[in-house]
């Protein structure tokens, strides 16, 4: 038991010792300290020095605020942090960097600066900076005018590459210009671009620079590659170049040379001499640097004598295709000839191919369109469109001829297209001389009909006409003229009247038809009643006379109620006997209607009824 207690006690002691080791050491190590140093206490006006404030032993120091010293421009250049852990011992180190740029000569004191660290306020020591006025330079030079001594060869280089040294006049020679700028000198702009010095040649428009990064002799360069083409304009020995450029780059603000760096070594340049090699910390300023390449030499030979007649100056290698549209046309109609020339050479000197035989054709000025296949425009396709109009009937388009000088074969080449069949008609037959325009002679106005004898050719316009008696005309077509549109109201009104009349007629016809139908139905009904035996004499006579009235009304188009015996007899043109029977019928009806019951059923025998029925049924118009 005692043994156990002793073991537990020892473990407890070891644990406390461990905790004391781990926990107490940081507390002992957390003693904040601050130091401040200048990279150089002696400098010239415009020559910056570095101020470093280093704080150790605390994890979150707060840097001093803006540092104001009259005659010095002090700007923050960044903060670097360093953490180190060793045997559970963590150490912190913060470095606040500043650039101190003297604006004038004198002795300056950078006062003690306050740094807040771990709840404490630490103070840096005062620092003294002696600034001298540089020889040959004004002591009040501005910041932007400070000019560090920079060797352009350390900034970059320019190379001009010409693929050949011998060429012909007018030949296109591709050229490549390579501009390399040290990565330590960030490029702000390429200035006015690359210029190629020299005389006796022309330069194509330069391409947009293509950018790459190359490592040359251990240094990284931002490389700009520009392409162009050079065309000699005269023979002889030409000096091409040098290619020159004035890029604007950012260079350090003239930091003193670092004595640690060996002279002449790859690191012996203003960038590496900087105490703080990282450009993020190094102060810099824009500077225009003049860079140029070495000049090249070109031996230019003249073109051989006796060129083809149609040669206009193209030098290179070309092929030609020709087409014409339309293939069928009338005499005088335009046809478009399209000549497509593809190849490599000086397209700017190229003119449209010519017709081998222009007889019988009107040729108009050509238009052209160039489509380049490369960056600099020495390879591509040029399309010429020429409008022709035939003066006479034609069966084919003559060949087109195009000549150029081939610098590879060193001879002139003439391309000749095939004849293209086409059909142009509608004019006089082809003659050896150009067709003359025909117009009727003055006072001899041609008729529309063709005449057997053609009018004599004249070459002048017909004379003036008397225009004082001419009637006023209108450019607007008839349908668009207001008077014509208003005139359409007349047929419209006539149409409306016609339609109304037809409609009224139809309605009237309809009313008459309905009246006739009604009368026919009533007459048929009355006749059916006459065949029945159950009716009284008065009713029978009334029905019979009504039938006569209805039939008369149907025949004469009169009101049935107004029909009497005479009207019926006249309507049916009855003879005297039948007229008398009709008159008796109407008289009996009236008698029976107005005499009361004295004339009953017995007053009208069956024979009389048959006679009346026969009379009624036989009435026909």
């Amino acid at each position: 038991m005692e043994m156990k207690m002793s073991t537990h006690f020892r473990i407890l002691i070891l644990g406390l010792a461990f905790l004391a080791t781990v926990g107490v050491r940081p507390v002992l190590a957390a003693e904040p300290r601050v130091t401040a140093v200048l990279s150089n206490s002696e400098t010239d006006v415009g020559q910056p020095v570095q101020l470093e404030i280093q704080v150790t032993g605390v994890s979150n120091p707060k840097p001093p605020g803006e540092i104001m010293v009259d005659g010095l421009e002090i700007q923050s250049a960044g903060t670097s942090r360093q953490y180190q852990m060793q045997n559970f011992d963590i150490s912190y180190s913060f470095t606040f960097a500043y650039t101190v740029l003297p604006m004038r000569a004198g002795r300056f004191t950078i006062p003690a600066l306050e740094v807040q660290a771990g709840g404490q306020v630490l103070r840096t020591p005062e620092l003294i900076l002696n600034v001298a006025a540089p020889a040959g330079r004004s002591s009040n030079a501005g910041r932007g005018s400070s000019n560090p001594n920079v060797d352009p060869s350390q900034i970059g280089f320019v190379e001009m590459i010409l693929p050949k040294s011998v060429a012909y006049v007018g030949e296109m020679i591709p050229a490549q210009i390579k501009l390399g700028l040290n990565m330590r000198a960030p490029v702000e702009s390429l200035g006015a671009g690359i210029q190629i010095a020299g005389q006796g040649f022309t330069t194509q428009k330069m391409t947009e620079p293509r950018q790459t990064i190359e490592n040359i002799n251990g240094r990284s360069y931002q490389v700009f590659i520009v392409k162009t083409a050079i065309s000699p304009a005269r023979s002889g020995k030409l000096e091409i170049g040098p290619a020159e450029i004035n890029p604007v780059v950012r260079v350090p603000r003239g930091a003193p040379r670092n004595p640690v760096m060996p002279r002449g070594g790859p690191f012996d340049d203003p960038f590496f001499n900087n105490l703080f090699n990282d450009p993020a910390f190094a102060p810099s300023m824009p500077k225009e640097v003049h860079l140029k390449s070495e000049a090249g030499t070109l031996e230019v030979k003249p073109l051989p004598p006796n060129p083809p007649a149609d040669f206009s100056g193209p030098v290179g290698t070309f092929i030609m295709n020709v087409d014409v549209s339309p293939k069928k046309a009338k005499v005088g109609d335009p046809v478009t000839v399209t000549a497509t020339i593809t190849g490599r050479g000086n397209f700017d000197r190229m003119t449209a191919p010519v017709l081998a035989n222009e007889n019988g054709w009107h040729k108009y000025p050509s238009s052209d369109n160039y489509k380049q296949d490369d960056d600099v425009g020495i390879s591509g396709t040029k399309t010429f469109e020429t409008v022709l109009s035939a003066k006479e009937n034609k069966q084919s388009l003559p060949p087109l001829v195009f000549s150029f000088f081939d610098p590879v074969k060193e001879t002139y080449v003439t391309l000749r297209s095939d004849e293209i069949p086409l059909q142009i008609d509608g004019g006089a037959a082809a003659t050896a001389t150009p067709a003359q325009t025909t117009a009727p002679a003055a006072g001899n106005i041609p008729s529309a009909a063709p005449t057997s004898t053609p009018p004599p050719p004249v070459d002048d316009i017909l004379p003036q006409l008397d225009d004082r008696t001419a009637s006023q005309s209108n450019f607007q077509p008839l349908y668009a003229q207001r008077s014509f549109q208003l005139a359409q109201l007349i047929p419209l009104l006539v149409l409306l009247g016609f339609a109304g009349w037809k409609w009224r007629q139809a309605r009237a016809n309809d009313r008459e038809l309905r009246r006739i139908t009604r009368l026919q139905q009533e007459a048929a009904e009355a006749q059916r009643n006459l065949h029945k035996n159950g009716s009284s004499a008065q009713e029978y006579l009334a029905e019979a006379s009504r039938v006569v009235q209805l039939k008369t009304a149907l025949a004469t188009n009169v009101d049935a109620n107004t029909v009497d015996a005479e009207t019926a007899a006249a309507a049916f043109r009855l003879d005297e006997a039948t007229r008398g029977r009709v008159q008796r019928l109407f008289a009996q009806r009236d008698e029976s209607r107005y005499s009361g019951d004295r004339n009953g059923n017995d007053a009208l025998s069956a024979e009389q009824r048959r006679d009346i029925l026969e009379l009624v049924e036989n009435l026909r118009g």
Binding site: P334, S367, L462, S473
Partner: protein, 250 residues
């Protein structure tokens, strides 16, 4: 107040009437002066007087023909072609204008728009004739349909006549549309500028489509600012400065 307004209106109408009458009265004088200048060999002055008569509202084929002659004599082939075309537009069968037009077009090497085969057929009649044909056939169809629809007994012959007349009016409409949008339609224009180039875009340095000699025919398709987009004689299309082109129709 009403009386004052009525008087004011009366004065205004009187001024307008006087102005119109004055303009119309000036036209014969201008034509007479133009004729005299032409006969005296002062062609530019003749052109100016003819133009003033046209500006005063006079429109007839003979006037435009004479203006074309004066323009030609003054060395303005494009103006001559433009006015011969105007004369032919007002009077399609004007043999003198047609003869002079062909002569000047040939001399100026002016490019002409290509006619389609149906335009060649339709050119035998004028838009005015087709307008009359349209009106007649339309109203015939309308009357026939009305008579057929309102008749007690509907005649199939009448219906057939109505349908045929309606068909004829439809054809007339189609022909009028084709003529108005065709070669010599509303968009017909003449190049009056020198060294005019039709271009692929509305810029002086844009690629050239066709060089148009003065007097060449184009058909205006649209307008954008100072440029017009036109159908060209070689069946292509291009942009032309607007001030270089004049429409034939006034």
């Amino acid at each position: 107040m009403n009386l004052f307004l009525r008087k004011l209106r009366g004065v205004f109408l009187a001024l307008v009437a006087v102005g119109v009458c004055d303009a119309l009265a000036q036209a014969p004088d201008a034509i007479a002066r133009a004729t005299a200048e032409y006969q005296a060999g002062n062609f530019r002055e003749a052109v100016a007087h003819y133009q003033s008569a046209i500006d005063a509202g006079t429109r007839n084929a003979a006037l435009f023909y004479n203006l074309g002659n004066a323009s030609y004599r003054a060395g303005d082939s494009a103006g001559a072609i433009l006015n011969y075309e105007r004369a032919l537009l007002l009077q399609a069968h004007h043999p003198e204008a047609r003869a002079n037009l062909h002569l000047v077009q040939d001399k100026a090497r002016a490019l002409q728009l290509r006619s389609t085969w149906w335009e060649g057929i339709l050119a035998r009649a004028t838009p005015n004739q087709f307008s009359i044909a349209l009106a007649v056939s339309f109203w015939l169809a309308a009357f026939c349909f009305a008579a057929w629809g309102l008749a007690a007994r509907r005649s199939p012959v009448l219906f057939l006549v109505a349908v045929l007349a309606l068909l004829a009016s439809g054809i007339a409409v189609g022909v009028l549309y084709a003529l108005e949008t065709g070669r010599h339609g509303q968009a017909f224009a003449i190049v009056t500028g020198e060294k005019v180039q039709a271009r692929v875009a509305t810029a002086d340095n844009a690629g050239s489509v066709l060089v148009l000699p003065p007097g060449s025919e184009v058909r205006i398709l649209s307008t954008r600012g100072d440029w017009i987009y036109a159908a060209l004689p070689n069946d292509l299309r291009g942009w032309i400065p607007a001030e270089s082109v004049q429409r034939v129709r006034l």
